[in-house]
């Protein structure tokens, strides 16, 4: 087997391994051996590439906008107002209820 013949089948055997003749050529040919080493090294390094980039904040704004237009979510401003009312308006009432309970239970004189 010569290099041209080996490299012709290389795409199909590089991961699974070849037949004895192909493996024999690989073991004895420094050029093909270097080639396979390089290709495997590239594949290994690629696996180590981590996602490195975030999309711009505009992407999330666009997603929110689309969902609001489709009626799938309430507008963020309306949700915020409701949550804000709950946060601001309910707190004094919650406190008053707790104090009343504690007084009833005789914990606070």
């Amino acid at each position: 087997m010569n290099c041209a013949e080996f490299q012709k089948v290389l795409p199909y055997i590089i991961e699974s391994g070849g037949n004895p003749e192909e493996e024999g050529h690989l073991a004895s040919c420094p050029v093909c051996s270097d080639l396979v080493q390089d290709l495997r090294y590239i594949a290994e390094q690629a696996k180590l590439l981590l996602p490195m980039h975030d999309p711009s904040p505009q992407v999330w704004e666009n997603i929110q906008g689309s969902l609001e237009r489709e009626g799938l979510v309430k507008p963020a401003r309306a949700r915020g107002r409701l949550l804000g009312f709950i946060r601001k308006g309910a707190w004094p009432w919650v406190t008053a209820v707790w104090i009343a309970l504690l007084v009833c239970l005789g914990i606070v004189a």
Binding site: P11, D38, L39, Y41, A46, V59, I63
Partner: protein
């Protein structure tokens, strides 16, 4: 992740329509989805549009997620399909059959003097590899990203791309060969600048 809420809980709540939990899921997965879109398209504007589309589809389809696979796997596959659909609409780049490896001599090894010194092992850094991947022709880049970076098997790629397993292997090999050339050229240019 907000204190007290697991991803599984966020998924359940997002399925029930909780927008804050959906935003949480977006925050957890946006980087991987965007990186996939960017690597496959090589264009930041397209990648952002596709990321947006992928998450919109996620919102519409999340109720169908049954937990048979990991959520990240399911979302990832959804994103890949969004990108491939987009590329098909643009006309999925077919790599010309004429664009093959450099012709080899019929007999005997290549006459590379000092070939053993030229192996790439230990000489690739992430930046150069990312640049080289960006430089790949689109058809090669897609297969390389799907297989070597994202970990899809050839049978999965063949199904997604509508090609044979043999074709997927052949394209991947050409992509790696092209990357090898690009990386060796880059290394040689760097050596000359010293």
């Amino acid at each position: 992740m907000a204190p007290g809420i697991s991803e599984a809980e966020a998924i359940d709540k997002a399925k029930a329509g909780d927008p804050e939990c959906f935003e949480l899921l977006y925050g957890l997965h946006k980087r991987r989805v965007y990186s996939l879109c960017l690597r496959m398209t090589g264009n930041t504007a397209e990648a952002e549009d596709l990321t947006q589309e992928a998450f919109l589809q996620l919102y519409r389809k999340i109720s169908t997620f049954r937990g048979e696979s990991a959520f990240s796997t399911w979302l990832h596959r959804l994103a890949v399909n969004v990108v491939l659909m987009h590329l098909r609409k643009k006309g999925l780049p077919e790599v010309s059959l004429e664009e093959t490896m450099e012709p080899q001599q019929e007999d005997g090894p290549k006459k590379d003097i000092g070939a053993r010194d030229n192996v790439l092992a230990g000489s690739i850094d992430r930046v150069n590899l990312e640049r080289a991947i960006e430089s790949l022709p689109p058809g090669y880049r897609i297969i390389f990203v799907l297989h070597d970076i994202e970990g899809y098997e050839h049978n999965e790629i063949a199904e997604m791309m509508g090609c044979s397993i043999g074709n997927s292997k052949s394209q991947l090999h050409k992509a790696r060969m092209k990357l090898r050339d690009l990386l060796k050229t880059s290394r040689a240019e760097k050596a000359l600048r010293r």
